[in-house]
C-alpha cells in the first residue's frame, strides 16, 4: 500500500520597505535589521486571501497545469504576529509551489519577500525548525544590541513576552490539525 506523501513548507514574509520608512535608522545594527524585517502582517491578510494569492501566482506562471497542482494546497498555519506560516502540498508539486512563492512581490499592497525557511515531510519538523529559528533570531537580536532596548521592542511586537515558540502549538490546535500533532 503506497501512502500519500505530502510536504510541509515553512515560510516567512519579510517586509523590506519598513527598513527605511518609519525612521531611517533601522539597519545600523543586526538586531534593528531583524526587527524591522520581521514585521507583523496586516490584519486584513486572511489565510483564505493568502491561498488565493499563491493560486493566482501558480496560475499566472504555470498556467492550467500549474493551477491543477494547487487543488490539494492548504494553509495549515499562519500567524500575523510573526508573519510565518505552514503550507501543505503534494510531494511532487513542491518545486512548482516554491517557484510560485518566489514570484510573489507584494501582499495587501505592501512589498514583501516570501522567504522559505524549510521544506519537510512532517509538520512536526516544520514546527521544530520554526521555534529553533525564532530562538536564533532572538539570540541575534540580544547579542548584537543592548538587551534592554531589544527586549522592549520585542515585547511590543509580540504583545507581552517572548511566547513565539510556545504560543504556536496552542494556535495550531485551533486550526484543526490536532490529529497530526
Amino acid at each position: 500500500m503506497v501512502r500519500l506523501k505530502s510536504r510541509y513548507i515553512l515560510f516567512e514574509i519579510l517586509y523590506p520597505d519598513t527598513l527605511s520608512s518609519p525612521t531611517s535608522l533601522n539597519f545600523t545594527t543586526q538586531s534593528q535589521a531583524i526587527l524591522s524585517l520581521h514585521q507583523p502582517s496586516n490584519p486584513t491578510i486572511t489565510p483564505k486571501s493568502l491561498v488565493q494569492l499563491i493560486r493566482l501566482s501558480l496560475a499566472k506562471n504555470f498556467g492550467t497545469l500549474g493551477s491543477s497542482t494547487s487543488i490539494p494546497l492548504s494553509l495549515k498555519y499562519f500567524s500575523h504576529q510573526t508573519s510565518t506560516g505552514i503550507i501543505r502540498i503534494n510531494q511532487e508539486n513542491v518545486r512548482l509551489l516554491l517557484a510560485s512563492l518566489f514570484f510573489i512581490t507584494s501582499i495587501g499592497g505592501q512589498n514583501c519577500i516570501f522567504n522559505v525557511v524549510c521544506v519537510s515531510g512532517s509538520i512536526k519538523q516544520c514546527e521544530n525548525k520554526s521555534s529553533a529559528r525564532s530562538r536564533l533570531l532572538m539570540r541575534n537580536v540580544q547579542a548584537s544590541d543592548g538587551e534592554a532596548v531589544g527586549t522592549d521592542v520585542l515585547n511590543a511586537l509580540f504583545d507581552g513576552g517572548i511566547k513565539v515558540p510556545g504560543g504556536r502549538s496552542g494556535d495550531d490546535e485551533g486550526d484543526g490539525m490536532d490529529g497530526v500533532l
Partner: protein, 306 residues
C-alpha cells in the same frame, strides 16, 4: 560563503558621490541581503562609455565606491567593489587595465557579438555579465562560452529580471540558452539588486529551486552561489591584492574584504587606498617581534665577530 556579486551602486559617474538618501536605501538593501544569509557582497558600479566620456587620470580617484561609508556592516558582510563596462565597441577596452588596479572585480556587459568574442580572447576579465532582460546580442555558441569558462571567465545572470514579470519569459529563455551553451558549468547568479526595488531579492535556496524548475540540476544550481561565485572573487583577489599568487583568507569564512587591506595600506602610505600591496602587513604581532629579535641577535653576533 554565499555570494551576491551584483548590488548596483547608485552612481553613474566617476566623479559624483552617492547621495545621503541613496546611501540609506543601499544600506537597507545590504541588511536585507544579510538577513537572507548572504556573506560576501560586491557593489557594482555600472559604467557606460557612451554616456560618461571623462575618466579621471589619477588612479586613486577612479573608484567611486566608498566602502568606508558602510561602517555598519564591518562585522556582518564582506563587501567588495566591482565595475561593469557596458561595451558596444572594442575600442572601449583601453581602460580595462586601469580598472583592474582599483576594482576587485572587472566585468564586461557586451552588446554585440564582436565585443563578446574579443573580450573572451584578449582580455583578462573576471566575469561576463549578460543582460537577460532583452534578447541576447547573439546566439550563444558552445565553443565561445566554453573557451571563456576554461580561461576562468564566468558568465553572470541576474535573478532580478526573473522577478520582474514583464521580462520574466525572455529571461527564462535566455537562461536556458546559457545553460545549454555552457553545459551547465561556469555560471554565476546574482541579485542585481537595485535600490528602488528592495523587495526583488530572494534567499539563495529559493533561486536554486527555481533554476531546478527551469532545468539545471540541484547540485550545479547551488554551485552558482557558492563555488563558482567564490572562484570569481578569488580570481579578482589574485589579480589585484595578491603577493606571488597568495591571498589572505580568514579562518571562518573564506576571503576577507577590503577593510583590513585599506587600513594596513593607510598605515604605511597615508592617503593611498585600494592599491596593490603585499601581505607583509598581516604578519602576526608576536611573529613580527620574533623576527625583529632574531635580526637583532644576528647583528650582535656579527659585531662580536668583528
Amino acid at each position: 560563503m554565499i555570494c551576491d556579486l551584483n548590488v548596483i551602486y547608485p552612481v553613474t559617474d566617476f566623479t559624483t558621490r552617492i547621495t545621503e538618501k541613496d546611501l540609506t536605501k543601499l544600506k537597507c538593501g545590504l541588511s536585507t541581503l544579510e538577513q537572507l544569509g548572504y556573506t560576501h557582497v560586491a557593489l557594482n558600479f555600472r559604467y557606460s562609455p557612451q554616456l560618461v566620456k571623462k575618466i579621471p587620470n589619477n588612479v586613486n580617484e577612479l573608484n567611486p565606491i566608498d566602502v568606508t561609508q558602510l561602517q555598519e556592516f564591518k562585522e556582518r558582510l564582506k563587501i567588495f567593489t566591482r565595475i561593469t563596462v557596458i561595451a558596444n565597441d572594442t575600442s572601449q577596452f583601453q581602460h580595462i587595465a586601469k580598472f583592474q588596479q582599483v576594482f576587485d572585480l572587472v566585468t564586461i556587459e557586451p552588446t554585440n557579438e564582436k565585443v563578446l568574442q574579443t573580450a573572451i580572447s584578449n582580455l583578462d576579465l573576471d566575469l561576463i555579465s549578460m543582460d537577460m532582460a532583452n534578447r541576447l546580442p547573439c546566439y550563444m555558441k558552445h565553443k565561445t562560452v566554453c573557451s571563456a569558462v576554461e580561461k576562468g571567465i564566468y558568465f553572470e545572470f541576474k535573478y532580478n529580471d526573473l522577478i520582474n514579470s514583464s521580462t520574466r519569459s525572455m529571461t527564462i529563455s535566455n537562461i536556458k540558452q546559457l545553460i545549454r551553451a555552457s553545459r551547465s558549468r561556469g555560471m554565476v547568479c546574482s541579485s542585481g539588486l537595485d535600490i528602488d526595488h528592495l523587495h526583488f531579492v530572494r534567499s539563495y535556496h529559493d533561486v536554486v529551486n527555481l533554476l531546478c524548475v527551469i532545468g539545471l540540476d540541484n547540485a550545479r544550481a547551488s554551485q552558482l552561489f557558492k563555488d563558482w561565485s567564490s572562484k570569481v572573487l578569488l580570481n579578482g583577489r589574485l589579480r589585484v591584492k595578491s603577493f606571488k599568487q597568495t591571498v589572505v583568507i580568514s579562518g571562518d569564512d573564506g576571503l576577507i574584504d577590503n577593510r583590513l587591506e585599506t587600513s594596513v595600506s593607510a598605515e604605511s602610505k597615508p592617503g593611498v587606498s585600494n592599491t596593490k600591496m603585499d601581505a607583509s602587513g598581516y604578519t602576526h604581532e608576536k611573529r613580527k617581534l620574533d623576527l625583529l629579535e632574531r635580526e637583532k641577535a644576528k647583528l650582535e653576533a656579527k659585531k662580536q665577530k668583528l
